[in-house]
Symmetry: C2
């Protein structure tokens, strides 16, 4: 039976959704401001909906294909080592359905957060006319909806699946198998959330920078329009992009890590618990998450209360307080659990400290990102000084500091991992990841605050609310940026620890199915090859995303120029710019350019596993995790530092705006834009997707043979291979071909101008 | 006994040195041109000698310290698993002496190559006044001296050590131990060559870019002086830099890989040979190298003969022909060996194909580098087109293509490694590395040709030889650049395969000493941590080198400005610029900035091994090799592509010189300069040094315990640890402290202005 204590998760999940709806209602009741503001805000909302609509349309097809693959072709791992195709249609059905539900849950959270976000901006702007505090509250409540929705759907999904499956199956199979079965189903849920995250994060990242770079290059540079000027046809797309990238993208990314960390810990909990009480250790991660949610809720109210003084400080202080509260709450949880499980005191308290280590290291990694990107610290200041020597030196300096900034968080992860391992082995490492992510509600809320106040500022300007209001809106905007520095580092650190935990759970599952411990010995050529391919993939993935942004931005530039040339009235303010077309370009570009990176994310792990075997696949994941960490941190921090170096110069330092130094700093910032907002943070999602793909498709690979097609030739035989299941391979090939045709068709459809117009019309 | 066939190595080595001296004499007999040319060439020679003098002074101290450490504190691995300190002073002495000899040999090759190189430039320039062919011949012969010296000292060193030790020790210990012993001594030789390579390559890289960037930023940009104008105080330093970086640096780097690949294959040959005939497999790598040298010599004469038509084509065609010849020669060698070893036919022919795979993949990797950096191919063209959109887009585009360019050579290495492994296990992989490097004589010769003709062009300009001669000198310069694209990719690929072979030989040695096979299972936390640190190191190392260039270039800029301000006569051409000061700045800067990266290279592997154990150290090396490969290729190719994109624009495309597009392309090129000439290629040397450090200091780590100080806490105990040798640790600490004090003192001395002046004076 499921311990009653799991009810906390369901209650917390319901509470979270309820709070999200409550905050939504509060925000919606607020005044939308003057007519101009409502108009601009309306454009942004329409744009965001357009993006979501098209994105979800494509995702529906993509998710459908993956649903079918999971349903039809994935041999279940539950039936033991001999894996006939379609033998256990039960698990396939359940996992596939959970996949659909996971996707839908992530889509729902993204939709709710994004729509509330874009409805909040004008209200927050109007709020600022009353007081900074009022504006802050509205924006913060609006942002919290995303944070709460993320945590809510995660807890309800994972907790719900347990509640449905475990009691029903325990009767027939006993608690152990029932728990393991439910964990597999949850894996499907997690995979669903990940699929969405990949599209939202990468697609959002490409969208936002396409619009941003396009708007800057033509509007600002060629026509000298100020930031957020409605005459710039890309300005609305730029505002939409902020929401799409930082609310929907970041939210779905953290949801993805959050669920994955819980799943990894649950899988390890089935093995590394206390005999007879495994289920408590399986649900421990869910409980920690639930307790974390309650702490996050308290944190949200604390931030609102603290916000009176200094908004920027309030957001970060709120995070620290939420961390402290969650640490205390989890201690209480552990204390309760020790009373339920005999002789569990030592193990549970070790687990507690593993969780706390995770929590603490998340904060520390956030700090180091903050240090490397803050304008009052040496790295960013040196980059600003380098701008005095020209464009090239600015780039070299930022790139170098970005690389150096990898060292402290790497040490943070290493120490956290080592200590957590010493405390309770790989289960400890997985719990550290869960601990780090337990305050995700607070983190996502703080992060979503950023684009809302950024948009508020734009709307305040366009609504003509006067200089005082704009200055106050600027203050909120700055607070959003301060919070963002920490949340970005946090997101990368937590994703990294999560995928490490997933790596261990992956190995654990293989050991359970095959009965042989997996050995990822780098001296085996196949393992080394796996690791080699893994190390290269994040580099390739980043490069593809950066080139995508560059390609789309070039199209955007042409469109903006076209509008200015064909309708001279736009520049004079007598004719409205055509925002729909720029938004359509950004949307379409983001989706088309996603095809290749997403195919890489889903197919390369399967191909590596099929060719070189599961152990090589594990090494592939490890290689990708390590090199992905280096690239993600480097790009994120270099981008942040360039951005702030530019801002510091714009504040009047080193000659200020308009100087050659400023121009060099702008070059740094423009290089940094896709680094920090597209490719850097997308690597997280790539890693989670590849890890989950490996776990979900493991059964398929084991059916072909644990050593892969040619693994035997490249090192010792670790496993007794099944005779290669030719049928499976044929089915897989069929699948791949089908999926390829479908994706190609989708691409064609999206690329077709008529379809795009129809979609655009339908939305109007 | 040593098989008589080893005589080939000695003969080839002597032949090589003899040919180097013969070419030197030929070149020296040529006319030095007019007075102005002799003057300029004299400045360059003095500068190069100054750099060498200071560099070798510091190296003498550094090598001395490492000599003492090897001599006094390295417990020998030959005495079995129980390793008392100083027990086998014999091996320590021999290894330490071999270390000194290896260093001296590398210094000699570097000195000879560099001095002949800088004496050749004016002669080649004068040769061009007669015919392009005459100029080509002189420059090519001058460059060949470096190539031949490298191969000669390597063969004489490695072959000589065998000849000295094996017969003498076989009597007492039998052939097997004698061979193993001699192999250890050769390891010392290789480590010596590596120490020099690290300083020459990184130091040369920093020097050359300090001078280049400094000369460009002030001379060209601020004062509009043309390239190579003697009024520019940094112009001589710039010319010196080309020699220092591309002759001495590249030569010592390839010498380092060359010797290391031979050593790795020899170590593996002791185990993976045919019972009773191991010695043939131990010397097989030396024989392959010797045969390769003969092929290279023939290649050199072929290039001279082919050079009549098209110098650029001649260099590359020469490389391909040398490759073919070496493949044929090695086939003959193998055929001879099959007659000497009974039942060896299958194994030896498998080995042959492993060697050929290495050879072929070296060429293929060179081609892919060529593709990604050639102006008539899409990547470079796209980067040039991106320059139309400004500085930032140029950077993003080059960076992305650089990352994408990692994929083909990575696949090349993976396929070569896999096929070689299938042919003859890890010995096959090591032989592939030896095979790839067998044509190193040709490669280094082609590479050294570049800076010589670059300098010739400068001297022709300054000597007033007229437009026709300059145009012809330009043609030779272009030929040098074409050859360089292939040699750079080749250098990275071969270093990568070499360090992979070193990784296997490292593991093999540990297995022999401890009797336990090493397991670098990435699921062990300590292994994962080792790999994590390894992946981060090349990133950190690159960043430090780039920042060094930036820092030194800033000093150079100040000095040039100072000279122009204090002595206005310089600009008018009435007063000579003070070249010595700029050269001193570049030299001093290069050495000071080397301290931190070189400490990292030598100490991090030892620290990782001592703390986490030897298996984690192996994973550290693997992580560093894989991520180092990504960074090295990315930086090298991005830098090359930016360079050529700029040249393509300067050829009149996209508006040509002086446009905004051109300025953006210059930014790309300036970012690319330290990428392709400092940090990118230095990563090779870093990897070889770290691998050899691990092998040399292995005994020390094993004395402390194969699991390291805390490895037991982080994974299964793979070994029965010796009780931790506290004495050893204390000694090591003492060593580290001593070495630290010494390095600090060296730094102080170098930094002291008076010392620098004295050094400068002494040279005059």
């Amino acid at each position: 039976m499921v311990p009653l204590i799991l009810l906390i998760a369901i209650i917390a999940g319901v509470l979270s959704i309820a709070a999200a709806i409550y905050f939504t209602i509060i925000v919606m009741k607020k005044d939308r401001g003057n007519e101009k503001m409502i108009e601009v805000s309306g454009y942004i909302e329409t744009g965001a909906k357009h993006f979501l609509w098209v994105q979800y349309l494509v995702l529906a097809v993509f998710v459908g294909v993956l649903f079918l693959i999971i349903l039809l072709f994935l041999p279940s791992e539950m039936t033991g080592h001999e894996i006939p195709i379609l033998s256990s249609i039960g698990l396939n059905w359940h996992q596939a359905l959970a996949y659909l539900i996971g996707s839908a849950a992530s889509m729902f959270a993204g939709w709710l957060g994004l729509i509330v976000g874009v409805k909040t901006n004008t209200r927050a702007a109007w709020g600022v006319t009353k007081s900074v505090k009022e504006g802050f509250d509205i924006a913060f409540f609006g942002g919290s909806v995303m944070g709460l929705a993320v945590v809510g759907v995660a807890l309800l999904g994972v907790g719900g699946i347990y509640w449905i499956f475990v009691p029903a199956l325990t009767v027939e199979w006993g608690a152990t198998i029932a728990t393991a079965y439910a964990t597999k189903v949850v894996l499907g849920f997690s995979f669903g959330a990940s699929t969405i995250a990949l599209f939202m994060k990468c697609g959002g990242g490409i969208f936002t920078k396409t619009a941003d770079v396009g708007a800057d290059l033509v509007g600002k540079a060629e026509y000298n329009l100020p930031e957020d000027d409605v005459r710039n046809p890309a300005t609305i797309a730029d505002n939409v992009g902020d929401n799409v990238g930082d609310i929907a993208g970041m939210g779905s990314d953290l949801l993805d890590s959050y669920v994955a960390s819980i799943v990894a810990a649950m899988i390890l909990g089935t093995t590394f618990g206390i005999l007879g009480f495994e289920i408590y250790f399986v649900i421990l991660p869910i409980l920690v998450a639930a307790v974390g949610l309650v702490a996050s809720l308290i944190g949200i109210f604390l931030v609102k209360w603290l916000g009176r003084e200094n908004p920027g400080k309030a957001l970060n202080l709120g995070t620290y307080l939420a961390t402290l509260i969650v640490a205390v709450f989890i201690a209480i949880l552990i204390w309760i659990l020790t009373s339920q499980i005999p002789d569990s005191s030592e193990k549970l308290w070790r687990d507690y400290f593993a969780i706390v280590i995770g929590l603490a290291s998340g904060i520390i990694i956030g700090w180091t990102s903050d240090y490397f990107t803050r304008e009052d610290k040496p790295p960013t200041k040196n980059i600003a000084l380098a701008a005095e020597e020209g464009h090239a030196v600015t780039i070299l300096s930022g790139f170098s500091y970005g690389l150096i900034s990898v060292v402290p968080p790497a040490l943070g992860i290493i120490v956290a991992m080592a200590v957590a391992f010493m405390l309770d082995g790989v289960f400890g490492v997985a719990l550290a990841a869960v601990g780090m992510l337990s305050i995700v509600g607070t983190i996502v809320s703080n992060d979503a605050f950023g684009p809302i106040v950024d948009n508020s500022r734009a709307i305040a300007e366009q609504g003509g609310l006067g200089e005082d209001v704009i200055r106050n809106a600027d203050m909120l905007d700055a607070a959003g940026n301060t919070a963002k520095a920490i949340t970005k580092g946090f997101a990368i650190g937590s994703a990294n620890l999560t995928v490490l935990a997933l790596l261990f759970s992956f190995a654990q599952e293989i050991e359970e199915i095959t009965g042989t411990a997996i050995n990822m010995n780098l001296l085996d050529i196949k393992i080394l090859i796996g690791a080699f391919i893994g190390v290269v993939i994040p580099a390739l993935f980043s490069a593809l995303l950066i080139l995508s942004v560059q390609k789309n931005a070039a199209k955007m530039v042409l469109e903006i120029r076209r509008q200015f040339e064909e309708k001279p009235g736009i520049l004079e303010g007598t004719e409205p710019a055509d925002f729909n077309r720029t938004i359509a370009i950004a949307t379409k570009g983001a989706l088309v350019e996603l095809i290749l990176p997403s195919i890489i994310s889903f197919t390369v792990p399967v191909i590596v596993g099929l060719i070189f075997g599961v152990a090589a696949l594990g090494a592939f994941l490890a290689g990708a995790i390590l090199s992905g960490f280096v690239f993600a941190i480097m790009m994120s921090n270099a981008g942040g530092a360039w951005d702030n170096a530019k801002k510091w110069i714009e504040d009047g330092n080193l000659g200020g705006k308009g100087t050659e130094t400023h121009k060099a700093a702008i070059t740094g910032d423009t290089v940094g834009d896709p680094f920090k907002d597209t490719s850097g943070p997308s690597i997280n999602t790539l890693l989670v997707v590849m890890s989950l793909t490996s776990s979900v498709f493991m059964g398929l690979m084991l059916a072909v043979g644990a050593n892969g097609l040619i693994g035997d030739l490249l090192g010792p035989e670790e496993y007794i291979n099944n005779p290669i299941a030719i049928g499976t391979i044929l089915l897989v090939l069929l699948c791949v071909v089908l999926a390829g045709i479908l994706l190609w068709a989708i691409m064609k459809i999206i690329k077709h101008p008529k379809v795009m117009e129809k979609i655009a019309k339908k939305k109007d």
